[in-house]
């Protein structure tokens, strides 16, 4: 008996050891290194293990760094807004209006996620370039005489690509939430004299907000941290998203401590944002969040009934 118990404990530990080791070794440890590096000093191009705050002082003292962070956040915010404007109506159509070929359409939205990110970003190069599809088309129909060079290598190109890439991420949680709204709720609203539009405003939209928050968080965090689209499509003008800055600090500039400090600031921003989003979602989703956590609502309801009929 005792040995069987010991074996079971051991096997349970062995079971947990792999994922714990994985997360610890490949996620927490690197973050710890990153965090530590942000307090190290660089003297004569050599990393020394003296603790200092001067990386952070330089970060906040040089307009370039906060400026880039704000610039990136601005791009990310616009990408988020555009993704939402595209994703919400599409999710709504998919959830409520499309009956035939619903899965096919949903797959059409989702399948691009399986295509390599690089391929999708490059595709925009082909579309927007001087010799690109769009310029060719515009010239072909006679709208322009010479190819436009402003299409590619601008922050607009970066934003178009980012919106394209992250719209499915925005759509998925919104679609999932809309799908979960019981049709009888919409019927109840109409039964209580609300037109279709007022039903949307008073019932569907409020109930879908947790999905909107989740989708927007995806779009914002992912596009804020993106550095490939700016490299490929941003040109000189705007290859300076904050992640590009980190890449060049670690790479070309070989200033790991400063790169680490910028990363830590970004990480803290992201964690803050996710925490806020999580709380907003919980508040909006109310019941949903509670139901996930072992249904305390039901137990309480049960007690309530007991009291009523006691």
């Amino acid at each position: 008996m005792a040995s069987a118990l010991a074996t079971r404990r051991l096997s349970r530990f062995a079971f947990a050891a792999l994922p714990i080791g994985w997360v610890g070794l490949l996620l927490l440890l690197p973050y710890l290194f990153l965090f530590a590096h942000s307090f190290f000093r660089l003297s004569n191009g050599q990393l020394t293990h003296q603790l200092t705050l001067e990386n952070y002082a330089r970060l906040f003292g040089t307009p370039l760094y906060p400026g880039t962070i704000v610039f990136s956040a601005g791009i990310a915010a616009r990408v988020t807004l555009l993704s939402l404007l595209l994703a919400y109506p599409l999710a709504y159509l998919l959830a409520f209006k499309v009956r035939r070929h619903k899965n096919l359409l949903y797959m059409a939205v989702i399948i691009p996620l399986w295509v390599s990110y690089l391929v999708r970003a490059y595709a925009w190069k082909i579309i927007l370039g001087q010799e690109g599809v769009l310029n060719g088309f515009l010239q072909g129909i006679g709208v322009i005489d010479a190819p436009l060079s402003v299409l590619l290598y601008s922050k607009w190109a970066v934003m178009i690509a980012l919106v394209h890439i992250y719209t499915p991420f925005t759509l998925m949680p919104i679609y999932a939430v809309l799908e979960s709204i019981a049709p009888s709720l919409k019927e109840a609203s109409q039964d209580l004299y609300a037109s279709r539009w007022r039903t949307f405003v008073h019932v569907v939209l409020p109930l879908s907000l947790p999905g909107v928050v989740a989708g927007c968080t995806f779009a914002f965090v992912l596009s804020m941290g993106d550095f490939i689209a700016p490299v490929l499509l941003g040109g000189n003008d705007s290859a300076l998203m904050v992640s590009n800055l980190v890449v060049s600090l670690f790479g070309v500039a070989y200033n790991w401590p400063l790169g680490a400090a910028v990363s830590v600031v970004m990480l803290l921003m992201t964690i803050t944002l996710l925490t806020i989003a999580r709380q907003v979602e919980d508040r909006l989703g109310g019941g949903a969040a509670e139901r996930r956590a072992g249904q305390p609502g039901d137990a309480q309801a049960g007690m309530g009934r007991g009291a009523l009929h006691a």
Binding site: A182, S184, L185, E187, A188, S189, Q190, D191, L192, Y193, A194, S195, R198, H202, V203, P206, L207, L284, G286, G287, E290, R291, G297, Q300, A301, G302, G304, R305, L308, H309
Partner: protein, 353 residues
């Protein structure tokens, strides 16, 4: 004039005819139940009255005005949904006040009417709770208050008690019946539970395959079923294969096996046609003496005590099962014992398929 009128209403879903040319008049203040098994078309009928489904043909009139094409939000009626359909992002008070808000009733009036509606269903103390913190029975009452606060002409109820336990269901049945009488609101109630229908209804429309097979007072459906299906669906009944020998008015003579019997009927029969004699277990008793009409010999098989009644399961010589209620206090028969059972001619109804 009837308040609500369905004229030859039909609804198809693809090839499936859910509701097949139903015509129905509902009087103001009436408690009408649409009773039937699942797939009989009762819910679809209710949903067409509510406006959630639109008939393929036929018209629905309210107060003589055609409402067939009106969307739900333009109809002066409210629905209590099967799973209550309370808005999860609103508390009880907001749920109940939703209809009034959509009708742009003033704030203070909403407050007052919501408070009164909640008191009516004894939930005044839970006004600020979200629906998920309520028990099933409480949610059910909120759904009821949310509909009644609008003072609709007609209240539609779609199996509203289905999710409640038996004791609570019986309480709510009485409460609904009282509300119907008190408020004078017309109730159209959908259920598959025949006992519930018998308890509450002024009239029952029993539906089968999208049609109404019998419409009438509960007593009539119980005592004078129009067909074998009705007899079988409503209450417990014995169905004995019989052959009609002669008819005089509503009185029939028939044979069960080779025994002659008498029964009543609501339709005309050609002598020689097969039918079913429907007789309720509580109307069967052991015959005294040796002569008299309607005597069948059965063999006792099993006795079951259920609290209210003692059921004795027996069989005819050909194996047809016959169940009867045994008088309280009398000693039930031993299995294998032969009995002669009899019934009043008025209690035997001959029905066709």
């Amino acid at each position: 004039m009837s308040l609500l009128e369905l004229r030859s209403v039909t609804k198809r879903f693809g090839d499936f005819v859910a509701v097949d040319q139903i015509s129905l008049d509902v009087a103001a203040g009436e408690f009408l139940t649409l009773l039937g098994a699942s797939g009989s078309g009762k819910t679809t009928t209710l949903r067409m009255v509510a406006g959630f489904e639109h008939p393929d043909s036929g018209t629905i009139l309210m107060d003589g005005a055609d409402i067939t094409g009106l969307p739900p939000y333009r109809r002066d009626l409210n629905t209590v949904f099967q799973q209550y359909a309370l808005f999860p992002h609103m508390n009880v008070r907001e749920n109940v006040g939703y209809g009034l808000r959509m009708r742009k009733v003033g704030r203070s009036e909403i407050r007052e009417r919501v408070t009164r509606a909640l008191e009516m269903v004894q939930l005044g103390h839970l006004a600020d709770r979200p629906p998920r913190k309520l028990s099933g029975g409480q949610q059910q009452r909120v759904a009821l208050a949310r509909a009644l606060v609008n003072r609709p002409r007609v209240l539609l109820l779609d199996e509203p008690l289905g999710a409640l336990d038996l004791k609570l269901r019986k309480e709510m049945q009485l409460e609904l019946k009282h509300l119907n009488r008190q408020l004078g609101i017309t109730f159209i109630y959908v259920t598959h539970d025949q006992e519930e229908a018998l308890t509450m209804s002024d009239r029952i429309a029993l539906m089968q395959n999208g049609r109404i097979v019998q419409l009438g007072q509960p007593r009539v459906l119980y005592d004078r079923p129009a067909s074998r299906y009705v007899a079988d669906f409503i209450g417990e009944t014995n169905l004995l294969p019989a052959t009609v020998t002669a008819q005089r008015g509503d009185d029939l003579t028939l044979t069960i096996g080779n025994v002659a019997a008498t029964a009543t009927t609501g339709r005309s029969w050609v002598p020689g046609t097969p039918g079913w004699l429907a007789v309720r277990p509580e109307h069967l008793r052991v015959a005294s003496g040796t002569a008299g009409p309607n005597r069948l010999t059965v063999t006792a098989r099993e006795t079951i005590f259920t609290g209210q009644v003692t059921r004795v399961y027996t069989a005819l010589a050909d194996g047809t099962a016959v169940v009867m209620h045994w008088p309280a206090g009398a000693t039930p028969p031993e299995p294998g014992m032969a009995l002669t059972v009899t019934w009043e001619p008025a209690h035997g109804v001959c029905v066709g398929d």
